[in-house]
Amino acid sequence: MSVATASPTRPAVEMLGIQRHFPGVQALKGVDFRVRAGEIHALLGENGAGKSTLMKILAGAERKDEGRILLDGEEVRIGGPTDALEHGIATVYQETSLAPHLSVAENLFIGRLPTTAPGVVDWRELRRQAAQVLERLQVPLPLRARVSELTIAQQQMTEIAKALSHRVRVLVLDEPTSALTETEIAELFRVLRDLRAQGVAIIYISHTIEEILELCDRVTVLRDGELVGEREVSTTTADELVRLMVGRPLVEMFPKEPAPMGEELLRVEKLRVRGRQTEVSFSVRAGEVLGFAGLLGAGRTALMRAIIGAIPVESGTIYRDGKPVRIRNPQGAIAHSIGYLSDDRRRSGFAGLLSVADNLSLASLPQFSRVGLLRRGDERRSAEAMVRTLRIVTPSIDQRVALLSGGNQQKTVLGKWITAGVQILILDEPTRGIDVGAKVEIYRLINRLAKQGKAVILLSSYLPEVLGMSDRILVMRRGAIVAEFKRGEATQEDVMFAATGQHPNAQAQGGTSR
């Protein structure tokens, strides 16, 4: 079990000058990060600020280009996840890495089960050791239960217990509370405070500011791959943290050109997604770009997928051009001229083994065929034109989409919906993971679509993007729309306060709450 050897003030972990470069993105620009033993240290930043990359480097899941990692003052090499564990660094990710069909006890000691003879598990010893670990956590987990039978909170505790069963000195938690209830969060905090008292260095990744203020001792803020501030929690305020986090002014990156607004194209009334408790209402007009802001898991993607019939709707009505419609599946949505660009481009955006041309026509096959026979001439001409218009960089329209760069893949997916000629286009994180140049091109396309009288619904976790491109911004939190802002009315702080449920001053509630 873990014994912290360092004095409480000396850093247990020092990451110095860490750089990581991805094509088109400098994910980390020489970050220094220090965590002491026996403290809970928050790592704060927007999506894409570099938090996860930094922690993956520490966990050995990602390599660094430059920089050094010191544990208790000694430089260490972390070549892979096993190295990290051997150095006592354990990470609890958002998705658990447990084996669902095995028991809690087995999961705790998987890969190093105690044995009586080679290959024969000593079950009694296993349960004794497992009980010992849980004793330290003061959490009553059913040792014999299968992990799949546990609640999410219990699974997370199992993950933490598993980390502790190694000799852990540094425990990293990546957004651990996103799926927990209030009581479960309180329980988690108690456990983390206990561990802190035992001298473990805890790194707590979150963008819920109230949690950080409640739980943590110090906080490091990253923005765009750079360290922008390190504060003692006792001397900082929510205001200051949000400003540090979003800080930068709206740069010229967002070439928003307002388009004339027309009729209402889509209205959603009291829509409840199956399995959710909240109802959502909103509408969008021709020529309008409607932004949806919110943290990951706020329910935006589920809402949109429900609207296009990809997941079931419990209740509520969708009006298209003022008339109520029932959309049962994605082809129904397309029939009503609604397209959805998925947030997971690899899994549900493009078909990687198919060519650029085949991907571009994928949502318009009826348009490019007669009695089921493809009109390949039309299809290819349309694809050639789309590749030119969107400036998709590809050696030919016959190139497989899997072989294009992220930005060109995304342009191809967007081109698919433009080819389909939909009137309402839902863009879910359209610029995630693509380089800056391609981002700006996608923003220009959004402008052009709006000018053509289409309605664009823009979902983004990247605040400057939603603020920069939208005519109107809705903020979602825990499945509900909690604020609405007109263009220019809101600052990043306002939106972030609404999205995190943090309202330090009355101004932040300036929008109409629903």
Partner: protein
């Protein structure tokens, strides 16, 4: 987390755009198509040198007749595999189709063309059931068709009491007849291959099948009627297995409830040797034909050179493993980019 993963993937792709010349991509794709074909040519050349009997009209004709049933079934199997599915039921469908088509002719005095049609349609029926099990009951294709494999085999044995049914000699046209100088099975194979190629390359059904195999969710969110496409594909495979069964019965003029034992894995092997990927999204009819031809050449050459059947099985196994290993390596290279 996802953004760094994507960024990671983007790394390789950007490298391609900047570094890898298009020529090499093109060459790689041609090699994928041509690899097995060149192997067939090489094997053919070697056999021509090794045996004076190989490159004779009779022998070549025999090779094509021998491969025809597997090739016909392989065309369907290619389609199923393209959707990232598999159909294990074809071998007992061959048996049931042969048994039923001879049975209605012998017992119920139906005309021979009608009997043969019954055989084909029964195959289609089993295919449709497979399709429904996969789409509506959400069974994995492997399990669904493993189930129908056994169930259909049971039916074939039940209705015949396990005894072969002797058909009238005129039942032999499909298997033994000729169109001009060309044996009928070869003609049927050519027609099936042409239609199969057309479906895959020129119809929305074919395009949808590739899309589903490459990314099911993408296809679904793009408005493709994924269930319909999958049912159609399994139905086609069933019809082709039924047709194969009728040809087999016609060739031996018997409805044998235990016929077709090897067709299952042979058809899958042919598809895979020809470049169809069991992960879906890739495969061609011409590849399936080349795969079937390669397998037949191994067997034919083995016979001509007096290599024992045991060795032939061994060699075939090595070829299958080599072909799939090649596919895997190629795929991993593709994913790394």
């Amino acid at each position: 987390m996802t953004d760094t993963q994507t960024a990671h993937a983007t790394a390789g792709q950007a490298a391609i755009e900047q570094g890898e010349p298009y020529r090499r991509l093109w060459l790689r794709r041609v090699l994928q198509q041509l690899g097995p074909f060149l192997f067939v040519l090489a094997l053919g050349a070697a056999l021509t040198i090794a045996s004076p009997y190989f490159l004779t009209g009779t022998n070549i004709s025999a090779v094509f007749v021998q491969m025809s049933v597997i090739a016909i079934i392989a065309v369907g199997q290619v389609m199923v595999i393209i959707t990232a599915g598999i159909d294990l039921s074809v071998s007992t469908v061959v048996a049931l189709s042969g048994v039923l088509s001879t049975m209605v002719v012998v017992n119920d005095h139906w005309s021979i063309p009608l009997g043969m049609t019954v055989g084909v349609l029964v195959g289609g029926g089993v295919g449709a059931i497979n399709g429904l099990l996969v789409t509506k009951v959400h069974l994995p294709p492997f399990i669904a068709t493993l189930g129908t494999l056994s169930a259909v085999g049971g039916i074939a044995l039940l209705i015949t009491n396990g005894q072969p049914i002797a058909a009238p000699t005129s039942f032999d046209t499909l298997g033994d007849g000729h169109v001009g100088p060309i044996p009928v099975p070869i003609v049927v194979m050519a027609v099936v291959a042409a239609v199969g190629w057309f479906i895959l390359a020129r119809t929305t059904l074919g395009r949808s099948a590739y899309a589903i195999g490459s990314s099911y969710e993408t296809a679904r969110l793009s408005g493709i009627r994924v269930n319909r496409v999958l049912i159609a594909v399994y139905l086609i495979q069933g019809l082709l297995a039924g047709l194969g069964g009728v040809i087999v019965a016609s060739r031996v003029v018997t409805g044998d409830p235990s016929a077709g034992a090897n067709y299952n894995l042979d058809a899958i092997a042919a598809a895979v040797i020809g470049g169809a990927s069991l992960f879906g999204g890739e495969g061609t009819v011409i590849g399936g034909l080349i795969g079937a031809l390669l397998m037949e050449l191994i067997s034919n050459g083995g016979d001509l050179l007096n290599i024992s059947n045991f060795w032939q099985d061994f060699i075939l196994g090595v070829v299958i493993i080599a072909a799939v290993a090649y596919d895997q390596v190629r795929r991993r290279a593709l994913e790394k980019r």
